[in-house]
């Protein structure tokens, strides 16, 4: 058997490299390493309810509205409601707003609730032997009940009206919040251990009984007592109260309004009342308020709708008296020069020499609401020294009465739906830890979003690896060269000429396809979308993980990573950052 001489063996007579450069551990070239650390975004930290907006929008962008809904349900029970009426602070801080228009986050949330199917998840059963009561089923109460039930507590809601919802049902007109949307949100409570007792008003004595029956009570009766103008003629016939008016409209117990209607006030209740008046047949509707247009607390969108429907605005007027002028009402005004004083406190300055008189058939006062706490006098909830709203310990929302907690408008005065939801969530967690004998603030610290006070209840109880909620990815952290332009998508709006025919919702929901498309405009700041860019752009081909790695967490192989930071530079969301250490 002839052996091939060594000078003839094709394998060894010329250099043929069959080994791999993987033998060179180029990771020793640098001690810089990428760290895949998800962060938060301004929309996320800007949402009082702590909604994980980029995570939800990521799901939605992939056509998974079930998934998007699940993400919203992690922090809030009312995505449909918020998707209709929230003042969307998220959009105001959306990074895309600095580029080509904020993402229409609110519309996507609405679509998720409309088309998605998901159940709330129970976070722990530890509360199972600690039943609690919630008084009031507005957004604060519903949120508290929702989260307490997810924490294992048997919850019983006590609601004075025959149906749940509070102001959501009785204070916001149907053209702004479709009742079906509210009912769909409420329907999801049925999968949790939540009992409902309607038609029951809890007073001081009732509160005592609840304290005896339950381990803790959450008071969320809201602020639904309308303030009345402190002027002559405020009690004349035809002078209505804003919130009562809206409730009557909702219960169909209000007749038509003919003639001219004046609404006094600059908030959402005022605009809701003005638009309702239009639909009830008013010939002309005026809105007079202290504030200039930009200062009005009412939503700018609703202002636009009101303008489109012919409502006439008078800005910077303070009513001084109302007089009956032969069956009609005349309101005298003086000019309001400034609403707030030099300290920013509500302290209107007026010029009496400038006057206006408006003669109308009806007047609706919508100058604000406050909590009606008369029924609780003697309960200890209301401080005896100075009558006022319910006071709570800011760290854990407990009132002066042990084991009675409070939140929402009853504590803060009229606020937003989303803030009430946030309060309810915070209270639920505070109550849960109190009942388990633990410290709430300590636990909360690691899941605070940005500078707070929003936090993630989902992360608190289920943990979340590779996530730094204190780091906010701002627009300056993004690379404009990598960004394309696409105009913000809008929901369909009912034509003004068609609106007056009834109380149909003005703003429709996006369809599921448009919702996915709008969600895809989200940059997903701080949230890894498994786009694979870090993987693809690594010159060392040493990044693992991602969608084919079985886990979302990408990592660089330290044996080969030269610390070049390309992965971090190409990450469009600020998730891949550079760190030190071998």
């Amino acid at each position: 058997m002839h052996e091939t001489p060594r000078y003839l063996d094709p394998e060894t007579i010329i250099p043929i490299a069959r080994g791999s450069t993987e033998a060179f551990k180029t990771g020793t070239w640098s001690n810089r390493r990428p760290v895949h650390m998800q962060k938060v975004s301004p929309c996320w930290t800007g949402c009082p309810a702590g909604n994980s907006i980029p995570r939800a929008l990521l799901m939605a962008s992939q056509g998974d509205l079930d998934g998007a809904l699940s993400v919203f349900l992690e922090e809030s029970p009312l995505p449909g409601v918020c998707g209709s009426v929230c003042y969307h602070p998220c959009e105001a801080s959306c990074n895309r707003g600095s580029w080509d228009g904020a993402v229409n986050i609110r519309a996507v949330e609405r679509a998720a609730s409309q088309f998605g199917h998901a159940k709330p998840e129970v976070l722990t059963t530890k509360g199972s032997d600690q039943p609690v009561a919630v008084v009031g089923s507005g957004p604060a109460g519903l949120s508290a009940a929702y989260h307490l039930a997810r924490l294992g507590h048997p919850v019983t809601i006590y609601e004075a009206n025959e149906e749940l919802g509070g102001l959501l049902r009785w204070g916001i007109p149907e053209f702004r919040l479709n009742p079906e949307v509210l009912d769909r949100d409420l329907g999801r409570l049925s999968s949790l251990d939540v009992n409902v007792k309607t038609g029951i008003t809890v007073d001081a004595q009732g509160l005592d009984e609840l304290k005896a029956t339950y381990k803790a009570v959450f008071l969320a009766i809201g602020a639904s007592a309308s303030k009345r103008l402190d002027v002559e003629g405020a009690n004349l016939r035809g002078v209505l109260s804003g919130l009562e008016f809206l409730t009557a409209v909702r219960t169909r117990s209000h007749g038509n309004l003919s003639g001219k209607v004046l609404v006094i006030g600059g908030g959402n209740v005022a605009l809701d009342a003005s638009l309702s008046a239009v639909r009830l047949g008013a010939r002309e509707v005026f809105v007079a308020c202290l504030e200039q247009r930009e200062q009005m607390p009412a939503s700018p969108e609703e202002y636009e709708f009101a303008m489109q429907e012919g409502v006439v605005f008078h800005h910077g007027w303070s009513p001084t008296r109302i007089v009956d002028e032969g069956g009609r009402l005349q309101t005298d005004f003086i000019k309001c020069v400034a609403v707030c004083d030099e300290h920013g406190c509500f302290n209107p300055t007026c010029d009496e020499s400038i006057i206006m008189k408006l003669e109308t058939d009806w007047i609706i006062q919508a100058i604000g609401q406050q909590a009606d706490l008369r029924m609780f006098s003697g309960s200890g909830i209301v401080p005896t020294v100075m009558p006022g709203p319910v006071q709570t310990d800011p760290s854990d929302m407990e009132t002066l009465v042990a084991k009675v907690f409070a939140g929402g408008d009853v504590v803060s005065g009229p606020g937003s739906v989303v803030q009430a939801i946030a309060d309810g969530k915070r209270a639920a967690v505070a109550m849960h830890f109190r009942l388990l004998g633990k410290e709430f603030p300590e636990a909360q610290r690691r899941v605070i979003l940005g500078a707070g006070p929003g936090f993630s209840i989902d992360a608190l109880f289920r943990g979340r690896k590779g996530w730094d909620p204190a780091s906010v990815v701002k627009f300056e952290d993004l690379e404009p060269l990598f960004l394309d332009r696409r105009e913000r998508g809008s929901a369909a709006v009912l034509d003004p000429s068609l609106r007056k025919r009834g109380f149909e919702e003005i703003v429709r929901s996006l369809d599921s396809v448009t919702a996915a498309s709008e969600a895809a405009r989200c940059f997903f700041c701080g949230t890894c979308s498994a786009c694979d860019r870090c993987y693809l752009f690594c010159p060392e081909i040493c990044i693992s993980g991602g969608r084919e790695g079985g886990t979302a967490a990408y990592a660089a192989n330290p044996e080969y990573c030269k610390g070049c930071s390309v992965c971090s530079a190409v990450c469009p969301r600020g998730v891949m950052s550079m760190g030190e250490g071998l």
């Binding site: 250099p15 490299a17 069959r18 080994g19 791999s20 450069t21 993987e22 033998a23 060179f24 551990k25 180029t26 070239w29 640098s30 690379e479 060269l481 990598f482 960004l483 394309d484 895809a520 940059f523 979308s529 498994a530 786009c531 694979d532 860019r533 993987y535 693809l536 752009f537 690594c538 010159p539 060392e540 081909i541 040493c542 969608r547 084919e548 192989n557 044996e559 080969y560 030269k562 610390g563 070049c564 930071s565 390309v566 971090s568 530079a569 190409v570 469009p572």
Partner: protein, 299 residues
Amino acid sequence: MDKLAETMLQQPRPPEIMRSGHLACPGCGIALGMRMVLRAIGPRVIVVVVPSCVAVTSGPFPHAALGVPAFHSAFEIAAPTAAGISSALKLQGIHDIPVLAFAGDGGTFDIGLQSLSGAAARDDDLIYVCMDNEAYMNTGIQVSSSTPRFAWTGTSPRGNPRRKKQIMEIMAAHRIPYAATASMGFPDDLTMKTKRAAAIRGTRFIHVLSPCPTGWKIPEHLSPKVAVAAVETNIFPLYEIVDGVHYTITHESKNLPVQAYLSLQGRYKHLTDREVAEIQEETDRIWSDLQARAAKERV
């Protein structure tokens, strides 16, 4: 922006052909470009490399960074080497293994231009990929005919007085079936072009702009961004030329001012306003000419 993500997320990751542990500088645009081209073409290929940063990256004996059969030939002969292998395969009855040659700008624009022209004139069946880092980087940083005007190199220390050779026009003049520019800042476009080239026969030429942190004086992490900026400022437009006459622009740029690209690089930091203006003017002229040619196609 997520057109890329959509394209990629819809498909499973192709196998990687290049291996880690290669000796390219950190952040090397060539390493990244090679990786992208190779994963687009797949494992059934024979690769030719010639002295350049490509060869250094490919690994010293007995280690290889290329996971496919490859041959390290001489500086100026990437094209005829690939042509020889390609002819030989066909003589052996093998018709489904493409031969892909990687060369640097020196090996393409300068010393290799003659042999590339010869191959193109014969329409030899090969894919020629020029990894263009715009100077002789493997040997330090020396000017080549691919170095843009005014750029600093070690042998043009006051800025290069000559213009960059228009290699695409040269290749188009040979009427080869396919020529394209590509940038590693646009992996989907690069992938599409590589696959398009692989699907046809004849001489196919892909010009890949490959930023070089070392020679362009940019931080290591900036290669992709610079590669994107080159395209979005029209300094390196992305287009295809079929049969030497049919032009298609494959990316509508953002028409950013050239400063958005030049200001990122230390090799241009000495530029005067006048020089920037000249670069802008020249860029605008070439871009406008390219658009006119592409427009003729659509009629």
